[in-house]
């Protein structure tokens, strides 16, 4: 091999010279920064508005930062804001949402994961037919099934109760979650399942001792998906619960859009941001897993 000394190289060499501020980069980053600002703006507006006093709001505009930071609107939104009927703020709604979300998430994931496992590893005759119906069910507008479920819940004596709403969330979470778990369990090596069967493990033994320990990531994705979905629900909350058990989203809407009294924009924005806090926290903490959840929900089986 001939070794050429660097001086012997004439003309272009090394990396192609690129300007940091090329037109392409200015366009690219310029656009992205504008876009990012547009998306971030409402969050900024929510936060600053919730920290202003009403006089300041009446004088300024929605984008100007607060001169005097106050947390009074947050306190009021949490414990005193009026919905038109009562004046107990968002706190009741918050605790209702917690009491709805936790059992709904647990029930829907428990049922759907066992379901997905049965579909992936223990196929029985007709299983695929039911699964297909289930998946198509995910596309049926909820409005079509609203009233039949009202009747079913009434027959069971659960209409208007929190447990009724938990059942509804479990039902409507089933298609996507079952798909998620079925696809995940199908992707696990089948030999693992066969080996466990040869070793004499049964349906539940394999599920609890082999599948569950291997599925922590997918369970995390499912929890993220369900917590945000159920927390953000409005329609089921308003249809299947009574005012005293309204979830937070419904309480928020009633507070902000109640026609009585003077509009307190700062309290409204504080209430809005408090309601958004749970899903936002989950989103910012979970990051990639959240994306994986919505991608999994979107990608066909």
């Amino acid at each position: 091999m001939v070794d050429v000394t660097p001086d012997a190289l004439a003309g272009p060499q090394g990396p192609k010279p690129r300007k940091t501020f090329s037109r392409r980069n200015i366009f690219l980053y310029g656009t992205l920064i504008m876009v990012a600002l547009y998306y971030a703006l409402p969050l900024y507006v929510m936060i600053i508005t919730s920290m202003k006093g009403m006089p300041e709001i009446r004088l300024g505009n929605v984008f100007s930062p607060p001169v005097e930071i106050t947390f009074a609107p947050w306190v009021k939104a949490w414990s005193e804001a009026c919905t038109g009927l009562t004046c107990e703020g968002l706190s009741t709604g918050f605790w209702n949402s917690v009491r709805i979300t936790i059992p709904s998430v647990i029930a829907s994931i428990a049922i759907a994961s066992v379901n997905g496992y049965a579909l992936a590893n223990w196929k029985f005759k007709g299983a695929d037919a039911f699964f297909t119906i289930l998946i198509f069910g995910a596309f049926i507008p909820y409005q079509v099934m609203l009233y039949p479920i009202v009747i079913m819940l009434r027959e069971m004596g659960l209409y208007g109760s929190l447990s009724g709403l938990v059942i509804v969330h479990t039902i409507f979470g089933m298609p996507i979650l079952t798909l998620l778990f079925r696809n995940y369990f199908t992707s696990l090596p089948e030999e693992l399942f066969k080996a466990a069967r040869v070793d004499g493990a049964g349906f539940w033994g394999i599920y609890f001792r082999i599948m569950l320990p291997m599925s922590v990531p997918i369970f995390t994705v499912a929890v993220i998906l369900q917590v945000t979905g159920i927390w953000n629900d409005f329609l089921f909350g308003v249809v299947y619960t009574r005012p005293e058990s309204y979830p937070m989203t419904v309480a928020l809407n009633n507070i902000v859009n109640s026609t009585q009294g003077v509009k307190e924009y700062n309290v409204n924005m504080a209430a809005t941001i408090i309601t958004g806090l749970v899903p936002l926290t989950i989103y910012f903490v979970s990051g990639k897993l959240f994306v994986r959840g919505i991608a999994a929900g979107a990608v066909k089986g």
């Binding site: 091999m1 001939v2 050429v4 004439a10 003309g11 272009p12 090394g14 990396p15 192609k16 010279p17």
Partner: protein, 359 residues
């Protein structure tokens, strides 16, 4: 200038990782050069640098005497064939062949003529109206070669073009690529990890490891006189036997066996003393009647037999190490037999134990 492609002092770094280091390579006009190495050795990276798909960190690339270090891939006078074929799936075969030419605003009749010629050479005329999804793997790769062919360039780059094909097709297409080279006499640079492809196709092979070229030479040289232990072990299947021992004068001692090295062509003129490794290819071990002529002979017991049809690979213990030799497929041996083998030092390779370089 007689060289088609010249690579001068090429460096490539991804962050702190040095992928290619001070690489120099000259490829003659019409030469078929194979870049061979295991995955991660930098062979595909080097090809991508030549194609202009990767920006180099330092050094130059010349193609046909032009410094193309900063040139766009399409301006370099190259055609490239990829492992995944990389055909445009929504276009017909004809569309795939013509898309680049149309984009370069070539006249219509010129495009048609080039497609006709490429289709004839590759025998894909009946496929021109089909879409890639309707083609077999071999046909797809032919179309991919055709896409390089219509560009009417002097240098063809192949990036593991046969790796996605099954064994039989791979052998067929290999022959076709060789024939293509014979007919067209283009410069071809071909990346592969398959030593058979390298040996059968190449005028010269460059064996790469860790971003460097270990040895550059004709298939004969690489096979017969590997420059170091790595190359020796990499080329050849079953791979070369290595005996760890000691070289004293003209004698290689391993355990209680002494092998006379008279007739061995020492790289640096004379024999050297010290710890060394003797490499013997399984196919260079003789058995049966031929043993009589061998300068060194020994008796071994057969441990394991792998019949492969045309020949049979026999495993045995020799000088305290596992030793494999290749016998004719007709030879009748059974496990437990004692056979006599013969070695010819002139066909063996000796390596320094520490530097692993050829002695």
């Amino acid at each position: 200038m007689n060289n088609s492609v010249e690579i001068k002092n090429l460096d490539l770094e991804f962050g702190a990782v040095k992928v290619l280091q001070n690489l120099n390579l000259e490829i003659g006009k019409g030469e078929f050069l194979v870049l061979l190495g295991s995955s991660g050795c930098g062979k595909s990276t080097l090809l991508n640098c030549i194609a202009g798909l990767l920006d180099v960190t330092a050094g130059q690339i010349h193609i046909k005497g032009n410094n193309v270090t900063w040139a766009e891939p399409s301006e370099r006078g190259i055609g490239m064939v990829f492992q995944s074929y990389a055909l445009y799936p929504q276009m017909t075969v004809e569309g795939n062949l013509s898309f680049g030419l149309k984009n370069a605003k070539l006249p219509k009749d010129e495009i048609a003529a080039r497609i006709k010629r490429a289709a004839e050479i590759l025998q894909i005329e009946p496929l021109l109206k089909r879409k890639p999804a309707a083609l077999s793997g071999g046909q797809r790769q032919r179309v991919a070669i055709g896409r390089a062919l219509v560009r009417d360039v002097d240098v063809f780059l192949f990036d593991e073009p046969l790796s996605n094909l099954d064994a039989k097709l791979r052998a067929d297409l290999r022959v076709e690529i060789k024939r293509l080279h014979q007919n067209l006499q283009n410069t071809m640079i071909y990346v592969t990890h398959d030593q058979i492809e390298a040996m059968t196709l190449a005028d010269r092979i460059a064996i790469m490891r860790g971003g460097k070229i270990m040895q550059l030479g004709s298939p004969d040289e690489i096979y017969g006189r590997p420059i170091n232990k790595y190359v020796a072990g990499f080329i050849g299947s079953p791979s070369m036997n290595f005996l760890e021992g000691h070289l004293t004068g003209d004698t290689f001692e391993v355990g209680d066996v002494s092998i006379p090295m008279a007739g061995y062509d020492f790289a640096n003129g004379g024999a050297a003393n010290g710890a060394a490794t003797l490499g013997i290819r399984p196919e260079h071990v003789v058995t049966g009647e031929l043993v009589g002529n061998a300068p060194f002979q020994a008796d071994v017991t057969v441990d394991l037999i792998e019949p492969m049809g045309s020949d049979t690979v026999v495993d045995c213990q020799f000088a305290g190490a596992r030793f494999r030799l290749r016998m004719d497929g007709q030879a009748r041996v059974t496990v437990g037999d004692t056979i006599r083998l013969g070695l010819d030092p002139s066909r063996a390779s000796l390596f320094d134990k520490d530097t692993e370089l050829r002695l």
